[in-house]
Every structure is written in C-alpha cells, then in structure tokens.
Amino acid sequence: MMTFVGKRLLQLIPVLLGISILVFLLLHLIPGDPALTLLGQEATPEDVERIREILGLNEPLYVQLFVFLKNLVQGDLGVSIFQDVPVLTLVLSQLPATLELAFLALVIAVIIAVPLGIISAVKQFSWLDYVSMFFAQLGVSMPVFWLGMLLIIQFSVNMNIFPSFGRGDPLVESFIMTIQSGNLYYVIESFKYLILPALTLGVMSAAMITRMVRSSMLEVLNEDYIRTAEAKGVRSFWVILKHAFRNALIPVITIVGLQFGNLLGGAIVTETVFGWPGIGRLIITAISQRDFPVVQGSVLVIALLFAIINLVVDLLYALINPKIKSN
C-alpha cells in the first residue's frame, strides 16, 4: 500500500511540472498586458514600460519561466500583481469556501442520486425508472449558469427564502457555534447561503451518479447470488440494501471522486453566478486582470487537490474491493 501511494505521489511530480509549464505558457500567450491593466486607462506608455520592468515582464519568456519554476520549487508561488498579497495566502483564503461548496454539492448530489438510482434499478422499466432517468438526463443537459439564475429568480427574488448571493459564516465555524450555544440559528444561516449554489452545482453530478448507481445496481441485481437470496425468500428490501448496494458501491465511489474534481471546475461558473467568494471566482477575476501569478498558483493548487482526490479514490477502491489489488 505504501509503495503504491509513494509511486503515485512520484508520478505526480512530472504532471504538476507539466501543468506549471503549460499554464505559464498559455497565460503568456493571452494578449493583454498586466502592467497596463494594473495602471488603468490613463496610463502613459512610459508608465507601462516602467511597471513592466519592475514586474520582470521585459525578460525573455524562458527567463521568466525559469524564475517561476525556481520559485515554485522553493514553495514560493509569487505575489499577486493586483492585490499585492502572496498568492498562497490569497488562494488559501478562498479555498475553504470552494471546498465547502463542492462538498455540500456532492452531498446533495449523492442524496438525490443514490435513492433515485436504486429505485430505478429495482423498478427497472417502470414509470419510476423512466422518470428518474429522464431527470438524470435533464440534469446533464442544462447549462449550470442558467439553472443558477432561474433558482435565484424563483427562490431569492420571487419567494425570498434564500439570499441571492454571497456566503454566510463558514459552515465549520457556524457548526461549532451551534454546538456551543445549542442554537441552530448559526448553522441554518450558513446553510441558507449555501443551498442554492450547492444545488446548482450538484445537479449535474447528481445526474451522473444516478446513472452510475442504476447501472451498477442493475448488474449486481442480476448476479446469481442475489437471485439465490431472493429465491430463499429473504425480504427483498434487505437483499437490495445489504448485498446489492454494497457491491454497487465500488463504481459509485469512483464516480463520486471523479465528480468532486468536476465540481471544483464547475465552481468557476457557479461562484460567478452566486457571488460565492471561492477559488473559481478568484481565478476568473485574476484572468480578467491578467494577474498571472494568482492564476498559476490557483490552478496548481486545484490540480494538486484533483490528484489527491484521485489518489484517495483509488485507495478506497482497493480497500473496498481487495480482489482488484490481488490482480
């Protein structure tokens, strides 16, 4: 197990290096001068030239790349051109909000998807099956930003149940507050902000997971031993839950892990629609300001997270299904 993890971590190094170089080159291909955006519309060409010099943008590209990689190896992600704050500080300040959002979106997705998937598998070819599958298909067919906007109009403006933007207190903090004070107010207030963006973000994943749960449940349900159990007359509800679902869990875990990565990406759009102060919006803003160090840093952190999640998923996979390990 340890060698497996070690090997995977080693494999990560060239990938991260590749990402760094790719992102660096891509960003420098984008037209638009950070110095000019920094100075604003009234800047004179001399001002721009001066700032370019200070920011090191006049060096040849390979020199800039080298400096970037050298700093990176030393754990230095650079300083934001616009905010004048170390990139790592900036990224870490925005990351919890995104993780919170992605996590809740995943929870919502699983809560929706698992029962739907099980029902449609158990009641295969019934109208329940068709309806659930239709909703699953619908979920992956909608542009996320459109759904988000419709939810805001309906639930925030028309019904005024949830706030239309922003983030309340961090969920973890308000959870602790609630435990300490015994007042549910804190948790519920945080949830009010979270629920619409998390739902928006979770719908697509819910659709994917539903399909996965259904198809893997179907497969397990058709296995001989389940039929045997059924024949023996064990109450079918327990058969399904205990045997089938446990076995169907493996592909489900894989896709759940995969979805978590997708959620981090989907957060870019959701955060823009809902004004959620996370890393997605940080990246979008940084791109529009040509704040290269911030984009590079954020992308690297996301890639690292992505890789770690994949690793964890693979480990879980191996744990749940020892058969694979022995292969």
């Binding site: 925005q94 805001i152 107010y185 300001q289």
Partner: protein, 533 residues
C-alpha cells in the same frame, strides 16, 4: 449489534437537535430596546444600525495612492479625506485643508484642519500631506495616477498646519486632483500595509475585508465632520448586475449604485419600495477613430459614419435613458460645457453622399461600397465586460452594413482590448472615459498629439496649442473659451464621436434617507444616511 450502535447514534443526534433552539442571537440581545419601542411614542423612529451596499467588483489595493478601481475608490470615500473634496458642482470644498491661497502661478499654500486624528488615534499633520505626495511622485512607487500630479515640483512643510506646493509650471486643474486621500506617514512608512488595512481620517474605518465577499466598516466616532449617522456599513461584492439588483429587491442589500443594467432601472422605478436617484456622471462613451487607418484618415468618411449613428436610439432604447445622447468631450457636469458644437444628425442619405464625395460607391453591385477595387471594410471593437457597449456595436454593425460598409465586430476582454488601443491596433473603438473632473482631464491626454491616451493618433496643431494654454491660464472664463474651441475642432474633425454622456444611478430602500448622489459616484454621502425600520 450494528443496529444497536446506529440506534444509539440516532437517538444521540435527536437529543442534540431537540436540545437546540433557533433564534437570532442579535435580535435576542437587542430585545430590551425593542420592548421599549413597542410602547409607541417613546421613540417614533428606529433606525437600522447597518446599511448594506452592493458593489460590482472587489477592491484592489485600498491605498489611495495606489488605488485605481472604482471599488477601492468607494472604500476611500469612507475611510479617507483629501485636502479638498469636490462638491456636486465639482468645485473644491475644504476637507483636510480649511483654506488655500495661490500667491503666484506656481505656488499653492494650504492651511490644514487642526485637531484631526487618524483612525488609529495619531494626529494628522503637514508631514502626512508631504509624505503622501512625495510617494505618489516617486516613479518607483508605481502610483497609477502619477501623471496627474507630475506638474508638482515639490511639497514643503511650512509648519504643523501649513504646506506649500511648488509647481513646475502653472497648472490650473491641480485643485480638482487634490481630493486624493492623505495617508498616515507613521503607518505607510512601515511598508505596504495600507493596501489591505486602510487607515485614514474619514467618517468610517474599515474593520475587516473578506476578499471577494464583503468589506465591513464602522463609524469613526471622532470624525471631524461629525459622527456618522449609521454605525455600520458593509459593502457586499456581487459581480453580476442582475444578481445585484435581485439582492436589492429581496432585501439582502439596501443600496446599489451604477454600473447597473438599464432594464433593471425601469423596473425598480415602478416599484414603490425603492427610490431611484439619477445624476450626470463624469464620463462619456465614444467612438474612437483611428487616424492611422487609411480609410478613416479621410475626415469625410468619419463624418459620414457619424451620420449613421442614431444616438437617440442608443440612449433611449439600449440605455433606457440612463445615459443621454452626447455631443462633445465637454460633459454637461463640467463648467466648460457647451451645447454649441457641430452635430452630425442621423441621416443615412447624407452619409451616402459624403461617402460618394470621398470616392466610395458600390460599383460592382455587391452591396458594399468600394473605391479603386477596395472594399469599404471596417472593424468595430469594444470590450466584452459591458453588455450595453456590446449592444451598441452590434446595433451599429447593422446600421453600417445596411448602407454598404462591411463591418466586423470584435469584442475582447478589457486587457486585450485596451492593449490593442494602446498599440493603435484598431479601426473604430467604442470606449469611455470616467472621472472627468475638469476639461483638462477630458481632453489633454486624449487629444494632445503625443499623449499616451491619444489612441487614434489624432493631431492638430491648434488643438495642441489650446490644450497647453488651458493648463497655464487660471482665469476660468478664459479657460472655458479655450476648451470650447478645442471641443469644437475635435468634434468637427470627428476625432471622437461622443455617443453618450454617462449617468449615475443610485437605487435604494425607500426608508433610506439623507443620501445624496454625487457625479463622481462617491458614497461619502452615506455618512449622512440612515435607514428607518
């Protein structure tokens, strides 16, 4: 066994939840006040202790010397004071300076307000003024608005309460630019802390800044201009215009300000729950013609194109009256404003005549004007952040194409678009200017031959001469004449086609009183605002 464990867990959870209450701790703590209010008459109005404002973008650096985005400006208006403050007519009024004199053309002496303290308790002195401008003038400091202050040779401290500005040359617009916030030397010297933790002398102090989410302020009880009426202000960052107005409608914020979507404004105007206030802003939106373009270098072509622009449609349909049809770079809010400039009314036939005079006609019957085998083909570009501007270019594309001008549209992100402007790599650009506190700010950098913001490389010796003179002369009546003449020339020659004079709009809860909208967009007026419940 397993079931037992689950059962235990479940009951534990239920007990926990059952043991919890649900109440707003803030309302609970303020209960005594509320019960007092119930006996009507004891206090007939209860005012909210916070005003929630929706802003479009997060602030960049909050150091007034470095700030350049509008949100940072909105922060400074609350946290900092300048030597002067511009009133609604853009005339300088005393702020940290109580009076000033101009003994000769290149010297200004300011008398500073006494007994003013920074929000950390340290006194405000002449040293702070000198330090603020010394750093701005230091090229290594990277102040974005350095060029506005460049005519300042030096700033001298005469005594605790007097400072002297020595100028390199007479510089009439100086006072308009001295509303920039004065920073505390003792803090600024320690390094770059003011960028994220501003400390000024203004009516509110910033207490915390959750990046991309909210900026919180508390009233500065010791403010020299009197304690602000509302104890707290929070700026919420809501990038999307539609969402921001939705937040106003749902009561999540109490106050929003331009930029806004025109269609949202007309809807809110019909809603009794809100007040809508408008004013002329200090900006205009214009088409910038590139004189280096072979086709556009002919003034007849530029005039012909101007006849294809229906400014009334743009103002009334696309902007829903939010911005008004424009004429010249002298905006109505300016003291130099004049209505008496050449005008190119919407008239496609007139345009065709002018094209023909310039030699462009559709000879091959393909619907596109041509001359010497070359098609009349142009690109209209703008930036993708502003949906109203995208609508203008798409609308104009349609108008131009109909008379036979082959028109392409290019909308890029601002950094890309502004770079192409800077490099002169455009045909016709749709852009705007903001913060035009005086005619110098509206014209010098834009039309002076060698100036950096003269994207279209417009050059006219008479205009150069006038713009130079406008800086040296201090008599306002004479300056008015100078700028009006320059404005007439650049409009006649269509260096710019000024489409719109920008307007500012504030929309807020009908119970919010005391705020006055300002042509600079300043939210300083919030110090006098209160929200009754």
């Amino acid at each position: 066994m397993k079931k037992l464990v689950w059962l235990l867990f479940l009951s534990l959870f239920l007990v926990l939840v059952a043991g919890c209450s649900y109440e707003n701790p803030e309302s609970a703590s303020s209960e005594p006040e509320q019960s007092g209010e119930e006996g009507e008459g004891t206090s007939d109005t209860s005012t909210a202790d916070i005003i929630k404002v929706g802003l479009d973008v997060d602030a960049g650096s909050m150091d007034p010397r470095l700030a350049k985005d509008t949100s940072a400006a909105r922060v400074e208006e609350l946290v900092y004071d300048g030597l002067v403050r511009l009133n609604a007519n853009l005339e300088p009024e005393p702020a940290l300076a109580t009076e000033w004199e101009n003994p000769d053309e290149t010297t200004w002496i300011f008398t500073l307000r006494e007994d003013v303290t920074f929000q950390d308790g340290e006194p405000f002195t002449a040293e702070d003024v000198k330090y603020t401008f010394d750093t701005i003038l230091d090229p290594d400091f990277q102040a974005p608005y350095l060029s506005l202050y460049e005519p300042i040779k030096s700033v001298e401290v005469i005594d605790e309460t007097h400072v002297k500005f020595n100028l390199k040359e007479p510089y009439a617009p100086l006072l308009s630019y001295l509303d920039i916030g004065i920073v505390p030397k003792h803090i600024a010297e320690k390094g770059d802390v003011l960028s994220s933790e501003p400390v000024g002398t203004g009516p509110y102090k910033m207490v915390n800044w959750e990046k991309n989410n909210q900026i919180n302020f508390e009233a500065n009880e010791d403010y020299w201009g009197g304690t602000p009426k509302t104890p707290k202000i929070t700026y919420f960052i809501i990038p999307d215009n539609t969402t921001r107005v939705a937040a106003l409608e749902s009561g999540d914020v109490d106050f929003v300000h331009s930029p806004l979507s025109p269609q949202d404004i007309s809807r809110i105007e019909k809603n009794d729950e809100f007040k809508v206030e408008k004013t002329q802003a200090l900006g205009f939106t214009y088409l910038n013609y590139n004189m280096k373009n072979e086709i556009l270098s002919d003034v007849k072509i530029r005039q012909a194109l101007s006849h294809l622009v229906n400014k009334n449609v743009i103002s009334e349909e696309i902007y829903q009256g939010m911005d008004s049809p424009g004429k010249s770079p002298l905006i109505p809010a300016s003291w130099a404003y004049t209505d008496n400039v050449p005008e190119f009314e919407y008239d496609p036939d007139k345009a065709l005549e002018l094209f023909a005079e310039a030699g462009w006609e559709d000879t091959d019957g393909d619907g596109i004007l041509d001359k010497d085998g070359k098609k009349l083909s142009l690109t209209l570009s703008t930036h993708s952040e502003d949906p109203n501007r995208i609508q203008i270019v798409e609308y104009l594309q349609n108008e131009f194409t109909q008379v036979g001008v082959e028109t392409e549209v290019l909308t890029n992100e601002w950094p890309t678009f502004s770079t192409s402007l800077m490099e002169g790599n455009f045909d016709i650009g749709l852009v705007g200017w903001l913060n035009l506190v005086g005619p110098d700010r509206a014209m010098y950098n834009q039309f002076y031959s060698d100036s950096g913001s003269n994207y279209g490389k417009y050059s006219n010796a008479r205009v150069d001469e006038l713009l130079e003179k406008g800086r040296r002369v201090s008599d306002q009546a004479e300056r008015t004449k100078i700028y009006q003449e320059a404005a007439k020339i650049v409009t006649e020659e269509v260096a710019y086609d000024v489409l719109l004079y920008q307007g500012y709009i504030a929309m807020y809860d009908k119970n919010l009183n005391g705020f006055e909208i300002h042509p600079t967009g300043s939210l300083y007026g919030l110090k006098d605002a209160e929200l009754t419940n």
